[in-house]
């Protein structure tokens, strides 16, 4: 196992270390308020931070058409889980931005939660999405709807993505795709639900720029202000939640590493190719 025996001195991490893998253990979350206060303290301390704000992974949720963001009263524990399980440094807060805002173009990873009917994308929203993809951005779309809401959002998404990315459309991500092994080995993608045993995505060039889950992936990581899981994962229970979290970790690491793991299939060959003295 390749590890880095490095201890990080990151606020809140020591509390994370006490956490076990059990699902109902109270974890630690930083609410947005706590984070802001901490950040202000940091500012008055001279703006020195351990890591760059912009280089860290940040969960940025976009909204479209002026709609209220879904699940803004919950914490989506994705950054926490990524930080807890990997060496990736994450900002623990979630930022919500309208897609029409220029600020979305500052972040390479965006999440869109959807359910039910959405208005057509505004021209500015389409322009931003197009520029975002062309610049190398990654969009995770999570269909959190159930029943009819799931289908309606699904139809809307396919329609709008065709307008933003003409000539490209959502298609199933093959099981052998590197996204299923960027960190964990994933055999079947799940979320809060396990209705759709696949992910869909759009590939630009050689990279997936859109990944779409219809299983309410973020729902499996939603916590209430007290830190309890908001939703049960059905039908697999805690084991399914763990799988969903692992899938989400893989998706984040894919966004950061792209096909890094594919390179390692011929790493040995590359290393042996030119060795002095042999």
């Amino acid at each position: 196992m390749w590890v880095s025996p490095r201890a990080r001195d990151i606020p809140g991490r020591s509390q994370y270390m006490r956490k076990t893998a059990a699902e109902d253990t109270r974890g630690v979350t930083l609410t947005r308020r706590e984070f802001v206060l901490g950040a202000l303290a940091t500012i008055f301390a001279g703006k020195c931070v351990l890591a760059s704000e912009r280089n860290a992974f940040k969960l940025v949720q976009i909204t479209v058409g002026g709609l209220k963001p879904l699940r803004d009263d919950m914490t989506i524990a994705l950054p926490q889980e990524v930080r807890f399980r990997t060496a990736v440094y994450t900002r623990l807060d979630r930022l919500v931005l309208p897609l029409a805002s220029n600020e979305v173009l500052e972040y390479p990873f965006l999440v869109l939660l959807g359910s039910g009917s959405f208005p057509p994308l505004l021209p500015i929203e389409k322009d931003h999405l197009s520029a975002f993809f062309n610049a190398g951005g990654f969009l995770l779309v999570d269909n959190v709807g159930e029943g009819g809401g799931n289908v309606v959002f699904d139809n809307w998404l396919r329609e709008e993505l065709k307008k933003v990315l003409p000539g490209l459309s959502l298609s199933k991500v093959p099981k052998e795709h590197v996204i299923f092994r960027t960190f964990y080995k994933i055999d079947v993608p799940v979320g809060r639900f396990a209705r759709y045993p696949y992910l869909e995505g759009i590939t630009m060039g050689k990279r997936l720029c859109v990944v779409y889950s219809r299983n309410d992936l973020t729902g499996a990581m939603a916590r209430d202000p007290f830190g309890k899981w908001v939703f049960e994962t059905v039908p697999g229970g805690p084991a399914q939640r763990e799988k969903a979290i692992r899938l989400a970790v893989n998706i984040v690491l894919y966004a950061l590493l792209l096909d890094y793991k594919d390179e390692h299939t011929h790493l040995e060959y590359l290393l042996k190719k030119k060795v002095p003295g042999e």
Partner: protein, 730 residues
């Protein structure tokens, strides 16, 4: 001065007319003469008439007198004396061909003295080129040491400026297979007498010569290759000789070869690894414990393979992602990445079955694989604190010291970016002390190239300096107050008038190091308008750190790897237009293995020449100034004979002489040479100077004179006839 009389052409018809008229005039006169009784008068009149007819006849023929200046010149006799490296090989009787030649001239001194009186004798020493010498130099063994033998080329060069060749004497010791062909061609070239004298240069055994050094057809940097050395050996008993290979002045390998009397040619193969592209010099020596037999140099061209980059990241991040994408976008870059994906917290470690983590081959990587790459990128990597990392820092330092490139990019772990490397004095462009206690600071920093670095090749291509000023800002920076000595700040970040270094580079011995003191440079790539700025900036950094020739401010090119002694070599200089004050220093590798300066030349018009006289390896260092800093370029070349020159025959010289007959020239053995058969051409007339033509035919004055003469003749004739008539009447 020479005079000659010429007559103009006349057609047969005009001759007929002239003869008819003459006949008529003669007949008429003879009839008239009958009337004269005195014989004396007849003779007198006859002479007058015939004289006048002759004068008319001559005038008709229209002759011309031509006066021409003529010079008598001595023909040139060329004496070409072999002064190649093989003439200094010791032969059986502890002799050398050089000595044999000197004795020949001593023995035939009177002949040459006499020849010099009647001919223009020019003496040349020849090898791969020729040098004019005197007979005294031959007699006093003060001949220049030239390189390889090329008789045909030497003959052609010696003929330059020769107006009239009387003959040539060629003295050589070379028996190689081209000798017959060369003599044939000389025979065809020259019709004058040529005498070729062959000296017996069979070396005294043991004789070991290096006859060829050959690299792989395509030697690539940071790749294994082979050097094959061919040996020629003449020995009387079996013996072990050592063949040693050195590269760029450093001993590399040696092998023992057993040579025996029944075999002459041997081949030795050395595996080789060049850690950088470009031109390298290879030295091969053959020796036993007590004696060195031969030494040879060869310049080997090592091509630049794909740039191999090893990219190690302390943690995945956007900065890592966009740098990786850039590296992967370059078709000439081969990237091997190792990203740390997990921290060790024992209770949180997933099992091997659940993840796809692979172990990092720590020991073999740092001690071997690193050296196969051109550039090591440590991004957001602080280094390990365990004992294996002591190995890492030592190898990273050695890697850079031997020509590798290192790029350190700051990040979350960067506050003490690879602190262990700071232990090496003058290693990091920014000292460990400067950065270890600092953290990344958030802000909005505009990028800018310092004014005095705008000419730097890394940031001057494609107006990069100007474009950087319009690029998006970076949002983090490690605020460093000062950089190490010798480091250059190429890009700085500016906020509210205060600036800090963002990109710093430095040379460390043979390698180069760069540091990027931000982890948000990726913002330039995550923007369609500035993505090319990001790529251009990284192109420049990569090119500089891996010594891409396009980023070398000065490149020296030579027309040949090996030059003959006394041959004028031309060198061309390619340089960045901002480089000024170019000066070339030429060094010679002396017996102690040290390079000694032998010449210094100001370079004008991007070209200079040099003539090497001593045999051996030379190195050129070209220095100039760019942006107030010294920049350099290097090249090396060999002066000496070709390796084939040292292959000597071991055959009966008489048989060789016989085989070379009928090629054109007269061929004899030097020791039995007889110069009486050599008969160079005698003095020749050289027509030159003024030439005048004086016609004595149909000119007006001539005609008038002739008319007066004729009139006088008629008058005299009339007087005589009248007197005769008067006498008769009385």
């Amino acid at each position: 001065m020479e005079a000659s009389l010429r007559f103009a052409y006349h057609s047969p018809f005009s001759w007929i007319i002239v003869l008819a008229v003459t006949l008529f005039a003669v007949t008429f006169f003879v009839i008239k003469l009958r009337s004269i009784s005195s014989l004396r008068q007849k003779i007198y009149l006859g002479l007058l008439r015939f004289s006048s007819i002759a004068i008319v006849f001559v005038v008709f023929l229209n002759p011309t007198i031509t006066m021409q200046e003529v010079e008598l010149i001595k023909p040139t006799v060329l004496v070409l004396v072999d002064a190649s490296s093989s003439t200094r090989i010791k032969t059986d009787r502890n002799n050398t061909v050089e000595n044999m030649i000197r004795r020949f001239f001593q023995k035939n001194g009177a002949y040459f003295e006499e020849l010099e009186k009647t001919r223009d004798v020019r003496y040349f020493a020849f090898g791969g080129n020729i040098v004019r010498i005197t007979r005294d130099q031959i007699l006093s063994s003060d001949m220049p040491e030239l390189g390889s033998t090329d008789i045909l080329h030497a003959t052609k060069m010696a003929l330059v400026g020769v107006d009239s060749l009387g003959g040539a004497i060629i003295i050589t010791d070379t028996f190689h297979e081209n000798l017959g062909k060369s003599l044939e061609q000389i025979g065809a070239l020259l019709s004058e007498p040529i005498l070729v004298l062959l000296a017996d240069a069979t070396p005294a055994p043991p004789y070991i010569a290096i006859t060829k050094i050959k690299g792989d057809a395509f030697l690539l940097s940071r790749n294994s290759g082979e050097i094959v050395v061919s040996i020629f050996a003449l020995v009387t008993e079996k013996m072990d000789i050592t063949v040693a290979l050195g590269v760029d002045g450093k001993k590399k390998l040696s092998k023992i070869v057993q040579v025996s009397p029944d075999q002459k040619d041997y081949s030795v193969t050395f595996p080789i690894f060049f850690d950088s592209s470009g031109r390298h010099f290879v030295e091969v020596r053959t020796f036993t414990g007590t004696r060195e037999f031969s030494k040879a140099y060869k310049i080997v061209e090592v091509a630049r393979d794909n740039i191999r980059v090893i990219h190690i990241a302390g943690a995945p991040s956007w900065d890592v992602r966009f740098l990786r994408e850039y590296l992967r976008s370059r078709s000439d870059v081969e990237t091997i990445s190792f990203y740390i994906l997990i921290d060790t917290f024992e209770d949180l470690m997933p099992s091997e079955q659940e993840t796809v983590l692979i172990p990092f081959p720590v020991e073999s990587f740092w001690s071997r694989n690193l050296y196969t790459s051109d550039l090591l990128v440590l991004q957001d990597y602080k280094g390990e604190l365990d004992p294996t990392d002591r190995m890492m820092t030592a190898h990273v330092e050695a890697f850079v010291r031997n020509g590798g490139g290192l790029l350190i990019i700051s990040g979350d772990s960067a506050p003490c970016a690879v602190p262990l490397l700071g232990q090496f004095a003058d290693f990091l462009p920014v000292s460990g002390a400067e950065i270890c206690d600092r953290n990344l600071v958030d802000g909005e920093w505009a990028l800018r190239v310092p004014e005095n670095e705008k000419d730097n090749m890394i940031v001057s291509r494609n107006h990069l300096a100007l474009r950087l000023e319009k690029a998006p800002t970076i949002s983090s920076l490690l605020p460093v107050e000062k950089v190490s000595e010798g480091a250059v700040v190429l890009v700085e970040g500016v906020e509210r008038g205060k600036s800090f270094p963002v990109l710093v580079v430095k040379e460390y011995l043979r390698g180069r190091i760069g540091m990027i003191l931000t982890d948000t440079l990726w913002r330039l790539s995550f923007n369609q308008d500035s993505r090319d700025i990001y790529a251009d900036l990284l192109d420049g950094i990569l090119g500089y750190l891996t010594k891409d020739p396009r980023f070398m401010p000065i490149v020296v090119k030579t027309s040949k790897d090996r030059l003959e002694p006394y041959e004028e070599a031309r060198f061309r200089v390619l340089h960045d237009p901002y480089v000024k004050g170019l000066e070339a220093k030429i060094y010679f590798l002396d017996k102690n293995g040290e390079f000694e300066e032998v010449s210094r030349i100001d370079v004008a018009k991007d070209e200079f020449t040099f003539v090497g006289r001593e045999h051996g390896l030379y190195r050129i260092e070209l220095e100039g100034v760019m942006g107030g800093k010294k920049v350099r370029g290097e090249e090396c070349f060999v002066v000496g004979h070709s390796m084939e020159e040292m292959v000597v025959a071991n055959e009966d010289l008489s048989r060789i002489v016989v085989s070379l007959r009928n090629k054109g020239p007269i061929v004899q053995r030097l020791e039995q040479a007889s110069l009486e058969h050599f008969k160079p051409k005698k003095e020749v007339k050289k027509v030159g100077g003024a030439r005048s033509k004086t016609p004595i035919g149909l000119g007006f004055v001539n005609l008038l004179g002739i008319l007066l003469l004729l009139s006088l003749e008629w008058f005299v004739e009339w007087k005589v006839l009248r007197r005769e008539q008067a006498t008769k009447e009385i």
